[in-house]
């Protein structure tokens, strides 16, 4: 799947932008603050979730007007075409329409898998588990479109259970009723994540050597547990006492972590150099795209600038070889040397009336 057109109105720094795209990678260059990441963020919202900055709908509206915003995109590929429209009125949450019909946000996951790498993820391997879990869930969503719905169902049930815990409610039947639903959704989450890790691992093995292979492992948070619905239900029931004391649920997929190791060196990702950590992430994203047969859209924000020329060439060759629509950003056109003719080049600049985009 790839975008054939993208229109932004009153979205962050973009007052009115309309792009027509041909499916090749898109290399976007422009000075700092010109609106490159904003453009990628708009694309990221075509996937379930809050996008690559995890922003609230209101922050996305162009200031100072804050009239609300709109993103319209056409998707094509695999013999299908869809139109996605996102919009948010001031103070309201994001509304989704697919092919002219109102749709739930999770339905976006069925249209196009999307993966991204942004500068904030540079510290992914050394910071808290939350970021890694989010990375794992984005990979999982690309393979298992229902992963978003399972996550939502799990979190809803857990919010209810956490409220019971905080209110020190002791009615076991009420806990059992919620834990059954958490167990069902949680088992689906576990299965999806395991599938994603297995498929990415398999695709890495088949990959080249330009980016280092990583060994991935899902680490159960809050103590080890089985992952079928029955096991999870037992773990939740057994954890009730401890959870009551803590006022929240301490075991389950919402506490899991993703561990990665640089395979050739047998070194945990957190112990690798900054450059190696980044290379590991790129390698995982490329393996993920390979496992999907070139179907996903990739958003690679400021990735090129941090690679040496050889690695940069290897990345561009990999992207073009996969035939994925990758959106790449950088401050200078020179960073995209070697992509001429193989990618669409766009130049973003900051004008008096917001960001403007032209052929680069």
């Amino acid at each position: 799947m790839h975008l054939t057109s993208l229109a932004l109105s009153h979205f962050r720094s973009h007052k009115a932008v309309r792009l027509t795209l041909d499916g090749r990678p898109v290399a976007i260059h422009g000075p700092n603050g010109s609106g490159k990441t904003n453009l990628l963020e708009a694309v990221s919202l075509l996937s379930p979730g809050r996008g690559l900055r995890r922003a609230a709908a209101d922050d996305l509206a162009r200031r100072p007007e804050t009239l609300g915003w709109r993103v319209v995109a056409d998707l094509a590929g695999a013999g299908a075409a869809h139109e996605i429209e996102l919009r948010a009125e001031p103070g309201a949450s994001r509304a989704v329409r697919i092919d002219g019909k109102a749709a739930a946000q999770v339905a976006l996951g069925r249209l196009v898998p999307m993966l991204w790498l942004v500068p904030a993820m540079d510290r992914l391997w050394i910071e808290g588990a939350e970021g890694r879990r989010r990375f794992l869930d984005r990979m999982t969503l690309s393979f298992v479109p229902d992963h978003g719905a399972a996550t939502l169902a799990y979190e809803r049930a857990m919010r209810e259970r956490n409220r019971l815990l905080r209110d020190e409610v002791r009615d076991p039947a009420w806990y059992r009723a919620l834990e059954r639903q958490m167990a069902e959704a949680g088992a689906a989450i576990d299965a999806g994540r395991a599938e994603a890790v297995a498929r990415v691992a398999a695709a890495q093995d088949a990959g080249g050597a330009a980016f280092p292979a990583a060994d991935l492992e899902i680490v159960a948070g809050g103590g080890s547990r089985g992952s079928g619905p029955a096991d999870l239900a037992v773990a939740l029931a057994e954890g009730r006492g401890r959870d009551l004391a803590a006022g929240r649920t301490l075991t389950g997929p919402h506490r899991d972590d993703l561990a990665a190791a640089y395979r050739a060196k047998g070194m945990a990702a957190a112990q690798c150099s900054t450059g190696e950590q980044k290379a590991l992430l790129i390698s995982l994203i490329l393996a993920n795209a390979r496992a999907l047969g070139g179907a996903p859209i990739l958003l690679l924000d400021e990735v090129s600038a941090h690679l040496d020329p050889d690695r940069r060439t290897a990345l561009y060759d990999a992207i073009c070889g996969l035939g994925v629509q990758a959106f790449l950003t950088g401050t200078e056109a020179a960073l995209f040397a070697g992509l001429e003719g193989r990618a669409e080049m766009l130049a973003v600049s900051e004008g008096p009336d917001g960001s403007s985009i032209g052929a680069g």
Partner: protein, 197 residues
């Protein structure tokens, strides 16, 4: 009559579901124009129902007696009780005309976040009815929402102890917590294909 009284009436009408300030104003104007044929009989009917309406002491349905018509009808003592969230759901089931037993209206669903607990939902009354009415099967007709399902599991758990069969309207039918919006055919199919829990 002062204009204030009129405005008061419009404000009251605007609180009805489906009416807003503008449509309430239109409705009141219409009533005043047709005050002989429509407004006076409506006012009388409203006053009478307001004086006699009550919740059925057994099932929570609304009626004009202590026991609603369904609970008072011996032919509806089939041993089956259909549990619904709201009176609107009961009416939807009745409209479909397939269910021959009695009902139990919970008056909501369990929700920790909204501070609705089992004691707020007439669940103890349901348990009490199991023995009193020789109930053989409880059919849960609750929404496929988190709260609807939680309530269903909770009731099934409580009833299992009493040795009464529990079933649930067929999964896969779009019971989004609003049985009221389903057409009769869908309700009939969901009841026929109900699943034992």
């Amino acid at each position: 009559m002062s204009a204030d009284r009129l405005e008061e009436l419009i404000a009251l009408m605007a609180r009805l579901p489906g009416l807003g300030p503008r449509s309430a104003r239109r409705a009141v104007l219409h009533l005043i124009k047709k005050r002989g044929q429509l407004m006076a009989p409506l006012a009388q009917a409203l006053a009478e129902v307001a004086a006699s309406a009550r919740d059925c002491v057994v099932c929570g349905n609304v009626g004009t007696q202590d026991r609603c018509e369904i609970c008072a009808d011996p032919r509806r003592a089939t041993g089956e009780i259909c549990v619904v969230e709201d009176v609107a759901d009961l009416w939807a089931m009745e409209r479909a005309g397939v269910f021959k037993g009695r009902y139990h209206v919970l008056g909501g669903t369990l929700s920790a976040l909204d501070a609705v607990g089992p004691e707020d939902l007439r669940i103890p009354q349901l348990i009490a009815r199991l023995g009193e009415e020789e109930v053989t099967e409880v059919i849960l007709a609750l929404g496929a929402t988190l709260d609807g399902q939680t309530t269903g599991h909770y009731i099934a758990d409580e009833i299992a102890a009493a040795g009464v069969a529990v079933s649930s309207l067929a999964q896969g039918v779009p019971v989004g917590g609003e049985l009221d919006y389903l057409d009769d055919g869908t309700i009939t199919a969901a009841l026929k294909a109900r699943k034992r829990l």
